[in-house]
């Protein structure tokens, strides 16, 4: 998860392995600086490699904090769980696509973005509803309330070049050592391989301030060390721009301590350890001929988790569990340009997922999912309308215990983008989406918790927004402003409720939540002042959530836990010759740690500010070298995102990166 500051000046075609020519058309309309997202029928936010490298981010979780509408549940430290909730729908409603194919975790349903390095990521895009730029995509892309797309890419090879190397090392506070290297090899004009590897070791012990009423103590976070290895091999066969095959093998292996919540007075420390192994092999082939566009995808996914607590007070003095899950995935998609303004598509996906756990009387579930999605898209110069209909069939088999009923569900999405006045770069966009998430295997089968009677949890979304993207003359050269108001309703929300005694909980379709919000973002590009180039980007989120689960409850109509009404991010950049300086700030308003919105549960607002300075050594024959220095949390702000999971204070990182 090295923060390698690499600026690949790539031809757009290489970057957009999954995109159609459509996106390239959009780019031409605007200044090349402006994001190609203003015409999208659904809200989309994007970070390109050069921006990501300036956001002081090791993992994708750090980077997406700069998107509006996104709350990252961060349990602190480097190895702590980091999940993303988009528009307060909860982590299970966001799909994460890695090079065009969905990552999956059938056990918990949430992808830990803290485990995904930004080191070799070229582009991070967050789509509300579903990726709206392309009809030819797997049916699974339609199956979530929002989709986070991560893309890796190829650098540009100058004609005689065969090898491209991008290597770097990071070190810094908390005992960080993080070397990484990506080697790109051009076998021929059509076949490319990329081997990306990264190793990360962090001691992770950082000081934090523990407030306890009138007393304040400085303590050290312990058992938060991690070491992780990532190996990634990509093979890309680019026969033509419209006929490409790519195959990826991915391996991640880590061991980490789980420091747990900070417990007052206790001298005992957490002895919980977690070993993770993730392996997947995926490939896709996309072909475009005339009016037809095909995309075939396949994936094998394997996840291994080993949990150990050597201070658990049972008869053996330890709790140890091994969980494994496997998924087989096949997808075919076809899109056809029926008329110049009309495209139709159909996609079918098959997913088989199964799980093993050494739990008492475990069910050993196998889930077969078939997704069928039909979509239509109508494009006129100033109006675009998209609609899709998704059918989901879920069939589940278990070895022991009760079997949940089979599911068959039909869910629609409609979206449009309209430019009311041809002379104005203003577009109005709107979407409606109704989608659900299936109960996870933990929800259904976890010992003394799971409930096989669970129904899917539904999320209904309504969105109305505007975009304004313009190149202007004057000090501000280009600007992009977006604002989207939305209303979401979650029904049959799956929550844990206690049963009989506190050792026995059950998952129930209990909750109903209303979410009203506003996402706003702006990007400004300024004319150079002498040799100084400036850049400013900001995002703001307003959210008002209401728990409507139980009218008689004290928390009825109260805000959801850990959901600030106001939050935002700013990132400003300056380039002067070989020096780049970036300033990043995050802000979160006050919020409640529990659903009961009483003063005791209110957590104070916080903000953090980071600075990065990078210096590019003058070009020389031994490659392009860059040194970077990051100062994170400059004012040593002591804050928790999740109460009693303290976040790190001031820290630094020093990086060296080389491109050959």
């Amino acid at each position: 998860m090295l923060l390698v500051a690499v600026v690949h000046l790539l031809p757009a075609a290489c970057l957009h392995a999954q995109d159609t020519a459509h996106v390239l058309d959009e780019v031409d309309v605007l200044s090349r600086k402006l994001p190609a997202t203003g015409k999208s029928v659904v809200p989309v936010q994007q970070l390109k490699k050069e921006t990501i490298s300036n956001l002081n981010s090791l993992s994708v979780a750090d980077a997406v904090k700069y998107f509006s509408g996104v709350l990252v549940k961060d349990y602190g430290g480097i190895g702590g769980l980091k999940t993303v909730s988009v528009r307060s729908l909860g982590a299970n409603h966001t799909g994460v696509m890695y090079d065009g194919i969905m990552l999956s975790d059938v056990q918990g349903g949430q992808v830990d973005l803290g485990k995904i390095s930004v080191d070799n990521i070229d582009e991070i895009s967050l789509y509300n509803a579903q990726p709206g730029n392309n009809l030819c995509q797997p049916a699974r892309a339609y199956a979530y309330a929002s989709v986070l797309q991560l893309k890796t890419g190829l650098p540009a090879f100058k004609s005689p070049e065969k090898v491209k190397l991008n290597a770097g090392i990071k070190t810094g506070s908390f005992g960080l050592i993080n070397p990484s290297a990506t080697l790109h090899y051009k076998w021929s004009g059509k076949l490319y391989s990329s081997l990306s590897t990264e190793w990360q070791k962090i001691k992770g012990e950082y000081p934090f301030t523990l407030e306890n009423g009138d007393s304040t103590k400085t303590l050290n976070r312990i058992n938060s060390n991690i070491h992780a290895l990532r190996l990634e091999l990509d093979n890309r066969l680019i026969i033509t721009d419209s006929n490409k095959v790519s195959i990826k093998a991915y391996y991640y292996d880590s061991e980490r301590g789980l420091p747990g919540a900070v417990i007052l007075y206790s001298n005992a420390f957490s002895a919980q350890r977690l070993w993770d192994k993730i392996f997947f092999l995926q490939g896709n082939w996309q072909k475009q001929t005339g009016k037809s566009h095909w995309l075939f995808s396949a994936k094998y996914n394997y996840i291994y988790n080993h949990y150990l607590d050597t201070l658990y007070p049972n008869s053996t003095g330890r709790q140890e569990n091994v969980y494994t899950q496997k998924e087989y995935y096949l997808s075919g998609a076809y899109a056809y340009q029926v008329l110049p303004y009309m495209q139709l598509s159909y996609a079918a996906d098959f997913i088989a997922g199964k799980m093993h756990a050494d739990l008492h009387n475990f069910a050993y579930p196998v889930r077969y999912t078939v997704l069928n999605a039909a979509a239509a898209r109508f494009t006129w110069p100033r109006l675009e309308v998209q609609g899709s209909l998704m059918h989901t069939t879920v069939n589940e088999n278990v070895k022991s215990g009760a079997e949940p009923g089979n599911q068959g569900r039909l869910t629609p999405t409609v979206a449009l983008s309209w430019q009311p006045v041809a002379a104005l770069p203003l577009r109005i966009r709107a979407f409606y989406k109704n989608i659900f998430r299936m109960p996870t295997f933990n929800d259904l089968y976890y010992t003394n918790l799971g409930n096989t009677n669970l129904r899917p949890e539904y999320a209904k979304q309504y969105n109305l927004g505007i975009t304004w993207q313009q190149n202007v003359k004057g000090f501000v050269q280009a600007l992009s402003v977006t604002a989207d108001a939305y209303y979401n309703r979650v029904t049959d929300k799956i929550v844990a409720v206690p049963r009989q005694n506190l050792f026995l909980w059950t998952m129930l379709n209990f909750g109903r939540v209303d979410i009203k919000g506003l996402d706003a973002a702006a990007q400004l590009y300024f004319a150079p002042i002498g040799k100084v180039q400036l850049f400013l980007r900001g995002s703001y989120t307003y959210q008002h959530t209401q728990d409507l689960s139980t009218p008689s409850s004290d928390s009825y109509k109260d805000e959801l836990p850990y959901t600030p009404k106001h939050s935002g991010a700013v990132n400003a950049g300056m380039e002067y010759k070989a020096i780049t300086i970036n300033y990043n700030a995050l802000f979160s308003g006050s919020r409640y740690r529990l659903g009961d919105n009483i003063a005791y549960n209110r957590l104070p607002s916080w903000s953090t500010q980071d600075v990065t300075v990078a210096y590019r050594l003058p070009a020389q024959q031994y490659g392009d070298w860059k040194i970077s220095f990051e100062l994170n949390n400059i004012w040593n702000t002591q804050y928790d995102i999740i109460k009693y999971y303290p976040m790190p204070g001031r820290s630094f990182r020093l990086g060296l990166n080389c491109k050959l």
Binding site: N212, G213, D214, S215, G260, A261, V262, I263, L264, Y265, S266, N267, A268, Y312, P313, N314, S315, H360, N361, T447, N448, N451, N453, V497, P498, R499, Q500, N501, L502, F503, L504, T506, L508, S553, D554, S555, R593, L594, G595, D596, I598, A599, Y600, N601, R602, P604, K643, Y644
Partner: protein, 356 residues
């Protein structure tokens, strides 16, 4: 940080009619009327939200988190049990690994003793006895406030009681699912040595005594039809299992030979089928009343039951959903609601202590 609202609600003078008692003597038999209540709130696991709420019976006002008001620091994480004995209050703060000892009338902290995962507390002849999940009972001398003895028990001991010359400890093995402990440790109070283990049903929890010299032990069972929850009756004269009461209970307290209990019943879809408040004569096993509550009062999630010895009032705490602040319901001996109050901001109210 914003000032918390309840700070302003704290009465300036907490206890006007409070009397002090000698530490080392047993409580006098005549029970004085209750002037106020202390309610122990467990707090959610990992939230450091253990609290004591004070409720003044003469003004009907509740003061939240008075331990923090009095001491400037929080009580800790997950407070499972508390008693008052003499002039002191003893609080088992489970996940903070502490037995907190405080002034019984003001909750002013006196000292905290390290005990690993303490659970339940009783008093006996100038000592307090504390079960802890590391398979022990600790004996604490209330004069010196030090641990004078630790006694090994079965797995994850919970409730405990003394009948005659023996201490009875319910060994739950509650953290050993599915292989729960099924025994009660019998410990000689003169030597503090375990003399035997009596096997009952899985996951023993609460221990009470009656005037027949019997020991009553509730068991959760193992959530299978073969081993449902039950109350086991031990004969204190020969320390054997004598009988059982098949009425399932989640929690119970024994007062004047009568068992007051509650039990939440679920259907196969995990929906609440009914909440029962059985009243049982422990001497005859006869169910006195199927439902203690006679006025239709609804409690969301009963989580603790205590009886005021001075007047027989029954207090049932409501933990709601363990997220929202809880409530305390006071019923007269006939099961009619006398009053109720919120323990805001405390979560998971459990034990009620009576200030006299």
């Amino acid at each position: 940080m914003r000032k918390h609202v309840w700070k302003w609600l704290l009465p300036v003078v907490l206890l006007i009619n409070a009397c002090s008692k000698d530490d080392d003597g047993p409580t006098p038999p005549a029970v004085k009327p209750t002037s106020g209540l202390f309610i122990l709130g467990e707090g959610a696991f990992g939230s450091n939200g253990a609290m004591v709420t004070y409720y003044d019976l003469s003004t009907s006002t509740a003061s939240g988190d008075i331990f923090k008001q009095e001491n400037g620091i929080a009580l800790g994480d997950v407070a499972n049990d508390a008693i008052t004995y003499g002039a002191k209050m003893y609080i088992a703060v489970n996940n903070s690994n502490k037995l907190v000892i405080a002034n019984a009338q003001t909750t002013k902290l006196i000292i905290s003793i390290s005990i690993t995962l303490p659970r339940n507390i009783i008093s006996y002849k100038g000592n307090v006895l504390v079960t802890s999940w590391d398979n022990k009972v600790s004996v604490i001398d209330t004069a010196t406030l030090t641990v004078t003895k630790t006694i090994n028990t079965g797995l994850n001991p919970e409730g405990l009681a003394i009948q005659g010359n023996y201490l009875y400890v319910a060994n739950s093995g509650g953290l050993n699912f599915p292989d729960y402990d099924k025994t009660v440790s019998v410990i000689d109070v003169n030597t503090w040595a375990e003399t035997k283990k009596i096997t009952i049903g899985p996951n023993p929890q609460k221990v009470g005594i009656n005037s027949l010299g019997q020991v009553l032990v509730s068991s959760f069972g193992d959530y299978t039809p073969a081993n449902p929850p039950k109350i086991y009756i031990l004969d204190g004269s020969n320390n054997t299992l004598k009988d059982s009461i098949t009425t399932p209970v989640s929690d119970m307290t024994v007062f004047n030979d009568t068992i007051y209990a509650y039990y939440t019943e679920y259907d196969e879809n995990f929906q609440i089928k009914g909440i029962h408040y059985p009243v049982i004569d422990s001497k005859t096993k006869a169910i006195v009343r199927n439902n203690f509550i006679t006025d239709g009062t609804v409690i969301t999630y009963p989580y603790g039951i205590s009886v005021d010895e001075s007047n027989g009032d029954v207090y049932i705490t409501d933990a709601k959903n363990f997220i929202n602040t809880g409530e305390v319901f006071c019923f007269d001996r006939n099961g009619k609601l006398k009053f109720k109050f919120s323990v805001s901001p405390a979560v998971g109210p459990k034990k009620v202590l009576f200030l006299r």
